[in-house]
């Protein structure tokens, strides 16, 4: 009936869905490759900067 209202509701739903889709993906378990990569980068730093 009220087209404007319906459109606003749709937009709100879209925002919520995007937010939730994004959040769900962001909360997935992070693959091991990234933890290994970060560990490796850190090791390289420590190797090249020596102690300190």
């Amino acid at each position: 009936m009220d087209e404007k209202k319906e459109k606003d509701a749709l937009e709100e739903q879209i925002r919520e869905n995007l937010q939730r889709a994004f959040m769900e993906k962001a909360q997935e378990n992070v693959p091991d490759r990234f933890m290994s990569l970060l560990a490796q980068l850190k090791e390289q730093d420590e190797a090249s900067h020596g102690e300190e």
């Binding site: 749709l10 937009e11 739903q13 879209i14 869905n17 889709a21 769900e24 962001a26 980068l41």
Partner: protein
């Protein structure tokens, strides 16, 4: 830096990076529309971020800084490859041509298909402002464009989604519970869409 198990230094930005991995993967997926490419992009961005940690100002928003590196990497490799052009409307229309059954799962697939068929600038703007909660100003900074440009990308993207979904008579009521599944499905099959 003697032992691996010494207490982590909360001031060390290197320790903070790990907390942004999830959002980086989500943002990368919204740009690439392909799970494998998204993770490659995250990997590339992490290496760049690590090498350029000097350019991060402690106390500022690290997620914004990482996202900026990520989107710059995305656009520069995309420019090199020059294989993905903004989607012509025809593709979006085609993807939605099949009449969905009145079933939440198909409706969600349609939602994600519609999102994935938006031009990349609109996907980016909606991901930053709509999904990640950055302000228009922050998003404009990150993308190196005017605030008005971001606003118009968000508005056009949202309007296009409304239009596509209304024309399909998608029932949003069932949709919210199916989002995860749809994102996973979308990630799994988007190789086909992008190819």
């Amino acid at each position: 830096m003697v032992k691996n198990n010494e207490p982590k230094d909360p001031q060390d930005p290197r320790e903070e990076i790990v907390t942004h991995l999830g959002p980086m993967r989500a943002f990368a997926l919204s740009l690439t529309r392909n799970g494998a490419e998204a993770d490659d992009l995250v990997q590339e961005s992490l290496v760049k971020a690590w090498k350029n940690l000097d350019s991060f100002t402690p106390g500022t928003n690290m997620q914004a800084w990482l996202f900026t590196i990520l989107r710059n990497s995305f656009y520069s490799s995309r420019r090199k490859v020059a294989r993905e052009v903004s989607d012509p409307d025809g593709i979006a229309a085609g993807a939605l041509a099949e009449k969905p059954a009145h079933d939440g799962r198909l409706a969600m697939n349609d939602f994600m298909a519609a999102f994935q068929n938006l031009p990349v600038e609109q996907r980016e703007a909606l991901s930053l402002v709509g999904a990640s909660g950055f302000s228009y100003e922050e998003a404009a900074d990150m993308c190196g464009v005017a605030v008005g440009t971001i606003k118009s990308r968000v508005n056009r993207g949202r309007a296009r989604l409304v239009e596509l979904l209304q024309s399909e008579g998608v029932d949003f009521g069932d949709m919210t519970d199916r989002v995860t599944e749809a994102v996973v499905n979308a990630a799994g099959r988007s190789g086909g869409v992008a190819a």
